[in-house]
Structures are given as structure tokens and as C-alpha cells.
Amino acid sequence: MSKLRALAGVTATVAIALVGWSCEAHRTALAPSTGGPLFHFFVFQCSPLKMTGGGRIDYPPGTAEKNPPASHQYETFGAHVMASGQPDPSGTTCLADKGELEWIDHRPEMEINGHPLNLHATAVTFAELAVDTDCSDGAVHWGGTLRVQNTGQENLQFEVWDCDNGEPGNGHDGFAIRVIQPIDGLGDYAVMCPDPDLPPAEPSCTLTGGNRQFHPTH
């Protein structure tokens, strides 16, 4: 009986050590590098990933703080994306499994038909892990196609830069969006903060509310 107990003890110890070792190695592989170049979101890899949450951006940004509420210079959004790290057959695009984006720009100058600009993703097609940012918990570049809810304009391509830089999300995490084709009635549209001095990672804009949550996948 005592031999059995000893064997069980050794087995459990080895199992725990193996599990701990395997998790640590994987986490290191996925962790973004720190102290890298100021220009971010340049180096990507196809990896399993998931990013969830939503928030608020006060853009154009004077600081990382909220603009005066009466200025209406802010955007709010909800978004998530999930990928299993599979490239397309050509090997050039990391495929997304699924995702959603709801984006509202509350700036009066962005109104269309008398209502705030409202963008709704109709498909999320790609998602790639950004490994050169200083986002502490994870960063993702992803996108697809969207519809302008105000007008029904369809099939506009978009991309976002999505950063989880610790807790809380307010003042730390980042998000940016660019619509590739012009929006009817507005023209080119992007909410990006290309300032390397503005944390957490260019070109994402610092959240003034909400949270982005990166979900590491073992």
C-alpha cells in the first residue's frame, strides 16, 4: 500500500510539473514583446486568439481623457473576434472563425441622415496576432466587411487594431478602425491615433471607458 501511495505521489508531482511547464512555454510564445520599436502592429502571426469587450473613445484625442461631454466628440462600440490560427490556402491571410462589430460615432459632423454614424460588421474574415506591440496582454489586427446602417451601404471593407493593455481597460486598452472604401456622404473614414507617445500602441486610440479582453488560448 505504501508503495502505491509513493507511486501516486510521484506521478502527481510529475503531472503537475508537466502541466505547469507546458502552460508556461505556451504563454511565453504568445506574449507580445516589450521594449520593441515605437511603430506597432507590424509583425503578425497566425495564432488561436479571442478578443472581446467594448468601450468608448474620445476622438479626436486631445489627451487620453474624455472630451467635454457637450462636445459630443466620442465614439462607442462593442466588438469581438475569434480565430483558430488557420491561414487561407494561399498562406497570406489568417482566417477568422467569427466576429462582430457595432460602432457608433457620436460626432455631429459624422451624422448621416440626421443620425449618428452606425457601422455594423456583416462578416469578419481575418484576424492575426500582433506580436510587436507593447500591449501587455495581447493585440489583434482584424477586419472584414461592414454595412453603414444609416444608408444601407454594403460590403465596405474595414480593419481594426485592437489592444488589451491590462486592467482596467479605461486609460490602458486601445482600439482603432479604418474603413477602406469611402462612405457615401462622408468620404474616407478612420478613427486612428498615430501618435507613438500616446499609449498603449499606435495606431490604436486609448479607451476612455470599457475594456478590451484578450483571451489566451492554451
Binding site: 469587450g53 468601450g55 461631454p69 459630443h72 462607442t76 462593442g78 469581438h80 471607458g209 479582453q213 484578450f214
Partner: protein, 211 residues
């Protein structure tokens, strides 16, 4: 039951219970988020619109209404409600927001032209950062950036709580404008002995929790 049977049962439970334990069983298991633009509860009205509730599969829900009218109690334009997040152990998160454009409550007794309610929760961290009220006027008086749970009396109507923040299990609720409708309770000689609540109006509400 013989004592040996009891001992065997205790041994069985002692052996099996540890096998059912997993690290995740001690971690957060759920994420909840919901938001709505306008809710009115009175004796004759029970209406909430637009509203969004985080689906159980933890993705995203959104709803909107260009115009909201609830009798003579509330009008609002461009109301959006969003709820998002995911249940994922210690990485669980929940974020909800409700935004509105022009708002008028009780025939202009309270007005605003931009309402944002935002609630965000992760493990051990919930906040209402991102919430705001633009050009808020209460009973003819401009109110800027009200502190959490600012209460103002509304003579003949009841009172309003601005930027109402309520702690919940693993999270919080923020109601940017919460009007409590009250009627006086009269005593034998017509003296007011108290007030009773006859209804509630909430404009801009967001809730999130992780537990």
C-alpha cells in the same frame, strides 16, 4: 447501515471529490451584461426600449431605436444599447453601454442632449468610466458632471438620482438619470406623513458583472 458501510462511503467521497476539482472551479464562471436606453415603470406602463442582453454564449448583442416615446413621460432620439463580453475563467469580461441623443423627461422637466451609460467588469474590477451627461438641465438648472448618486428633489414629482451607481454581485449598474415618481401620503388632518413611490423612469442604464 453498518459502521463499515459508512466508513466505505466516507472513503469513496474522500477519493472522488478531489477528482472533481479543477482550477477553473475556483475561477470566475460567468459574465453578464445588459443595457437599455429607456425604462418606465408605473401602474399603467411597463416599457423598456431599446435593450441588449449579453447572450449566454458570450458574444455581442445590440439594439437601437431612432425615436423613443413613452406617453408624456419620456422622448429620446438615437438610442443604442450594446452588451458584450465572454465567460472565460479569470479572463471573463463584460461591458455594456447605452447611449442616447436628445432626451426629454416629464415634458422637459429634465433634458439632456447626450447620455452615455457604460459599465465594465473583469475579475475584481468594475467601473462606470466612460459614462457622461451632456447639457443636462434639471428643473431649469444646468447640472455638469454630477458626482455618483447625486440626488435632486423634484417638487410635486419626487426626486431624481443622477449618475446612479449601484454595486451588484461581481459588478455594478449605472443609471445616468433615474427619476423616482412619488405621491404624498396624507394623514387624518391632511398633513403629509410621508411619500409613496408610484413609478420609476430610467434613462441610460448599463450593467456588467463577472462572477
Amino acid at each position: 447501515m453498518k459502521i463499515d458501510d459508512i466508513r466505505r462511503a466516507v472513503r469513496f467521497v474522500g477519493l472522488v471529490l478531489p477528482l472533481t476539482w479543477s482550477p477553473g472551479s475556483l475561477a470566475a464562471q460567468g459574465a453578464a451584461a445588459n443595457a437599455f436606453g429607456v425604462a418606465v415603470r408605473t401602474a399603467t406602463i411597463n416599457q423598456t426600449t431599446p435593450s441588449a442582453v449579453l447572450p449566454t454564449d458570450g458574444t455581442l448583442a445590440q439594439n437601437q431605436a431612432s425615436n423613443v416615446t413613452v406617453g408624456t413621460l419620456v422622448t429620446a432620439q438615437d438610442a443604442f444599447a450594446t452588451a458584450t463580453g465572454a465567460a472565460d475563467g479569470e479572463q471573463s469580461d463584460a461591458v455594456s453601454s447605452a447611449t442616447l441623443g436628445t432626451v426629454s423627461i416629464l415634458n422637459g422637466l429634465i433634458t439632456a442632449d447626450g447620455v452615455v451609460a457604460m459599465a465594465s467588469s473583469t475579475i475584481d474590477n468594475s467601473n462606470a468610466e466612460g459614462s457622461s451627461l451632456a447639457n443636462l438641465v434639471v428643473n431649469g438648472t444646468q447640472v455638469s458632471d454630477p458626482e455618483p448618486n447625486t440626488r435632486l428633489d423634484l417638487p410635486g414629482v419626487g426626486y431624481v438620482v443622477l449618475n446612479e451607481q449601484i454595486a451588484t454581485a461581481g459588478g455594478m449598474t449605472v443609471n445616468m438619470i433615474h427619476v423616482v415618481l412619488q405621491q404624498p401620503v396624507l394623514g387624518l388632518l391632511g398633513v403629509v406623513t410621508g411619500y409613496r413611490t408610484t413609478g420609476n423612469i430610467i434613462v441610460g442604464s448599463a450593467s456588467s458583472s463577472v462572477n
